[in-house]
Every structure is written in structure tokens, then in C-alpha cells.
Amino acid sequence: MRGADAIVRALELEGVKHIFGIPGGAIIEVYDALFDSGIRHILTRHEQAAVHAADGYARATGRVGVAFATSGPGATNTVTGIATAYMDSSPVVVMTGQVARSLIGNDAFQEADITGITMPVTKHNYLVTDENEIPKIVREAFHIAGTGRPGPVLIDLPKDVTTAEIEFDYPDRLNLPGYKPKYSGHPRQIKRAAELIMKAERPVILAGGGVILSDATEELTKLAETIPAYVATSLMGKGAIPETHPLSLGFVGMHGARYANYAVQESDLIIAVGIRFSDRTTGRVSDFAPDAKIIHIDIDPAEIGKNVGVDIPIVGDAKLILRELIKHINHRKRKEWESRVEGWRKKYPLRFRDDGRLKPQYIIQKIWELQPDAIVTTEVGQNQMWAAQYFRVNRPRQFITSGGLGTMGFGFPAAVGAKTAFPEREVVDIAGDGSFLMNIQELATCVDFGINVKVMVLNNMFLGMVRQWQELFYDERYSATCLKCKEMSFEKIAEGFGAVGMTVEKPSEVEDALKEAFEIDAPVVIDFRVDRLENVYPMVPAGAALHEIIDEEV
């Protein structure tokens, strides 16, 4: 068969059901092979969106997402998508077309060195130089993307590799001597960790995206209940424990609740699971949880000790390690600690000013009340932080956001991916006006393929998060952050694409508009004209410690 047929056959054998992408000359042969396949191809309107969609698909399902692009500009358009997946450890396989082998290095038409370009933002990548290696490389790529600490893998396919004839033989064994993720934790380290936990008076579990990737949420909740210990998460860790659970403190960090930040700072033991201690989570790292010993469980040994010093490292899979760890723990109430944390929780709840204007926080609260089980994706900026604060996630893979790279334009195509995987579930993109514009062309994809996601634009006509920083730290000098554009209407834009658009200006209209949107069997965009100058609080200023969190008067 042709190399192209081998690629499609290998994808079928990997269980791929959906591919997101855009064709072009260099990858036309693969698209030709795809034409006869049962795999459904979703034609996105931008390659960046194709990768975000594959990423959203992966985050919603836990399976590897797949994206296609042609050579040159198609390939370079995937870079932001790949970097986004890389920073959040999302399993994605991207296949790009490439000019024929004889032309590589000649600056041929639509040639780009995409393996060179993506080296720093992929877990691994391949330039296929021998057509007979196609089955082996596809097999390896899926394995590498989906196991250990997941991440994106790119396969670059020279055109003549896809047209060449090969004998298809799918390997059942892998030969990757340099790739051996360690799954089970060291028993002695686990014992030592248990001893430390038993002695702790103020333990806090810090859960990251690794808990969700390893499908360890049940174990994590059980550990929390057994100790008992409060659980704070990173942004990526939302869903590691139901956020309505009495032990949940929500997320911690720059815009986490005050009680979560105080609990972490005052703790005497941090049990960190699948988390990489990013600066957005730790605040000023030299003053992070100053009295706490730290147990760090992670599958990636390079994360241990990278950002904070660790007392007990345990390398391995969170699920397996937590399962073992729980066996060594006895329940012991910590009354005093509990009453302190509950005191903070009472005294410093998340709140916003109710002054009759349309508040973005209120809209998210309403979305949550109406659709608590919806899959929520976010864009980046204030919208993202409000979504994280007010949408209380009750299960893993429900909250999908670009945490590490903070990519504006991620949420909408990610929603397309999630909805493709779960057409029967409500999928909501909580968007900012600036971010939505960055991949708004995907409305065409939604209409084309009947992907009925609901986009809630918290339209402040600002690059709001940047404007907030300018207000607080740059004397209200709003340099290049105003997006006000009188004639622009997201309602009309949506209609122009053949989707449904609505505009909401008053708080009293919110609930009805949302209900209507959730009833409509079509992609819907609601343009919420929110209070333009609303800020995200509480907030840890850049460079401050977690307990130096500031709040507004309400």
C-alpha cells in the first residue's frame, strides 16, 4: 500500500476516531487515503485551532488527540497549539506534510523545518526519512504521547514518503531503550511519607494536573478524607477533588481564594501530587509555605526539586502511589487546624460587588447553577480566572484551560474538540472578547459539522487582564488594551457564520438567555456586555507571597 494508506491504517489501529486539520499539497496523499476511512475528519478553519481542538479532545477524554496540517505555513500554524499542549502535558499527535525528501534543505516551496522548530515544544518528534518506518513511528508516537508524563508528538511526512509503496506490518513490540517511565513509587519513600503525614498537624494536599492525567481523583479524595487534609489545587488540578467537597479549598495561587492561600502558607506539611510548583501557584517561591515540609509525588523526576526544595520525593504514577500511601495512614482529626481553616473560609469567601451592573462573576455562577455538569473551557485573562473561581468543578476533565502557556484563543477550539468527543454533553466556552477573536473563525467549523458549543463572551471591550494590571500597577495608563469598537456585535458575527447570536446587557436577562442558549440545538454565542472595569480579586501581586493577597472592598 501507499505510505499514506499505511498512516491511515496505523491511525485506525491506534483507535483514532476523529482528526482535526486542514489539507494542502504536501499532505494531499494522506487526505486521499483518509477519504475511504471510517475516521471522521473535522475541517477546522485554522491549523492552530486544529491542534487546540485535538488538545481539547485529549483533555476531555484522556485519549490521544490527532491533528493534521500541510507543510510550511500549515505546519508553522500548529506551533502555538503544540506549545500549549506541551506546557499542560496533553497527549496530542500532530502530523504535518513536508516537501519531498530530495527537496528538503533547498528552501523549496512551502518548506519549513517543523521538526527543528518544534523540538523545544514537543515531547518528541520525527521526520520520516524511510517509508518503511511509518508503522513503527506512528506506534511509537502514540505510545510516547500518551504514557508517562503525556505530551505532544509531531510526525513530519515528506510527500514522497506518503506516495511510496510499502509492506504494512504493524509492530506489536516497541523498542525504545531511552523511554522507560517509572510507574510504581519507591515503597520506602511511601512509608516515610506516611510517617510524615501522620505526624503533621496542619497538612494540605496540593493537587495538580497530574492527578487528572493519572486518573487518580478517587484516590486523592480518599487520601484527603483518610488523613483528613484540606485539598488546594493548581489551575490545572481543578477537578482533582469535587470542589463542593467540604475538604476542597478550590485553587490556590495568584487568584485563588484567600482561605486557600492562607491554608497553604500556614500548613506544616504540603503533600504535592502531580504539580510542578509554577510561579502562578506558589507566589514568591522563597516565602512559599515557610513552615511546611514537602512531599512531592510526580511521574517526571525532573520536576522534583526544580522549583522548590523537597523533603520526600516519590517518583511514579500518582494513582499507584496514592493507593499505596493510603494503606499506611490512620484517620486523625486535627480540630484546631480545621477550625482555623473554616474560620478563614467564613471570613474571606470569594465575593464580588453587587451594584446592579452586569457582573461577569454572576454570569458564571448562573452557568454553574444551570449546567453544573457541563464541560467548561476557558480563554485566557480575567474570564479564565473568574471561570476558575466561580465554576465549581465536580469531576476530572470537566475544566479545560490553557494553564502553562496561557494561550488566548485556546478555549473555543478546545470546546470544539471536547464537543466532538462528547456530542451529547453541554460544552461551554467561557470567553473574553479579545481571546474569542483569536479563533473566531471556528464558528464556521461548528456550523459546518453541527458542533453545538455555547460561547459565553464576557465582553468588557478590553484586554481585561492586562488592563487590570495597568489600572493597579501602571497608573491607569491603558496602553493598547481598549478593544471598544462601537459597531462590532458578536451577535451579528455569529449570525453571519450561520450560528445563533444573542446580546445580554442586564443582570435580569442572564438566566433566561442562558436557558434559551442551552435549549437551542445549534452553536450559540452570547455577547454579555459586562461591567467593563470589573477586576479579578483576590489577587497576589506579581512577586508577592501567597499570604500577601489583596482583596477589594465590597
Binding site: 515531547k123 526519512t129 531503550p177 531511552g178 525532573a302 526539586g305
Partner: protein, 161 residues
């Protein structure tokens, strides 16, 4: 502190770029790098001299290990034989030629090429020895120096795999 790291890598296109890119991107400082084939087909050995505190070196080792094409990483700074090789083209007149050869002999260096007014000397050894030899040659006028990166192997019967 300087460390010598030995890495066994799969002999694949791009593997050098992966390693070099990793060092650049994470801000690790390569002082020298030597690459060559090994006794095993398809496996090359990289010897990397890198400077940094213990935490940096730990990160270097761990990040190298994460590369799929890297099979084995080992810190061989302690208890090992270390060698570099240098070719030195030095000005040599009929008057001082004998003197230069005498110094070369003391260093067990070899004369590998002789021209009318210069010669090429090959010297191997650890960094200090080569440095000392080059210093001594300066008085005659060094025209060119080519030096390899360091290679290293730990003493004793244990091998890297």
C-alpha cells in the same frame, strides 16, 4: 563546579540538536562536547562538560534523561580517566626545532607534520597537561590550535550500561 556527564544516545539524525537545544533553552552552560560512536551499533556517546551548582547538574541529568533518544546518562566526574586531544601548529625554525621536539618528548606529544618553518604537534592528556604544553609552545609562536572536547571513562570494571 564543573561536571563531566557521559550520555549514551541513539545514533539518530537530530540527536545532537536535541541535546544542544536542551542546554540552550534551560540556560545550562556547555564547556565542551565530544561525540563519537561506541562499541554498540546505533549508539553514540556524548561527553559533556558542564558547569553549575549541584541543583543545576541534577536538572541537566534529569532533563537529558527525558529526551527519548538518550538511553543512559551518568556523571563521570569522579574517579575517571579524562582525555583531550590537541593539534598545535607551532612556528619552528631550524634553530629551535630540536628544542621544541625535546619539550614535546617530555609531554609524550608527537610531531605529526613538519614544514619549512612550522610543525604540527599532537598531544593528548587531561586538560591541565594540554594547557601546560600550549603555554610552553607560546614562546615559539602558535599559529593554530585545534582541540577536541573532553572524553572520560570511569576506572574499574563497571561499564556505563
Amino acid at each position: 563546579m564543573r561536571h563531566t556527564i557521559a550520555a549514551l544516545v541513539e545514533d539518530k539524525p537530530g540527536v545532537l540538536a536535541r541535546v544542544a537545544g536542551l542546554f540552550r533553552r534551560r540556560g545550562f552552560n556547555i564547556e565542551s562536547l565530544a561525540v563519537g560512536v561506541t562499541e554498540k551499533e546505533g549508539i553514540s556517546r556524548m561527553t559533556i562538560v558542564v558547569s553549575g551548582d549541584d541543583r543545576t547538574i541534577e536538572q541537566v541529568t534529569k532533563q537529558l534523561n527525558k529526551l527519548i533518544d538518550v538511553v543512559k546518562v551518568s556523571d563521570v566526574s569522579e574517579n575517571s580517566v579524562e582525555r583531550e586531544l590537541a593539534l598545535i601548529k607551532v612556528s619552528a625554525s631550524p634553530q629551535n626545532r630540536a628544542e621544541i621536539i625535546e619539550i614535546a618528548n617530555i609531554f609524550r606529544a608527537r610531531i605529526v607534520d613538519v614544514a619549512r618553518d612550522s610543525m604540527i604537534i599532537e598531544v593528548t592528556g587531561d586538560e591541565d597537561k594540554i594547557g601546560a604544553f600550549i603555554d610552553l609552545m607560546r614562546q615559539y609562536g602558535i599559529k593554530e590550535v585545534a582541540r577536541t572536547g573532553k572524553i572520560a571513562m570511569q576506572r574499574g570494571s563497571k561499564s556505563l550500561e
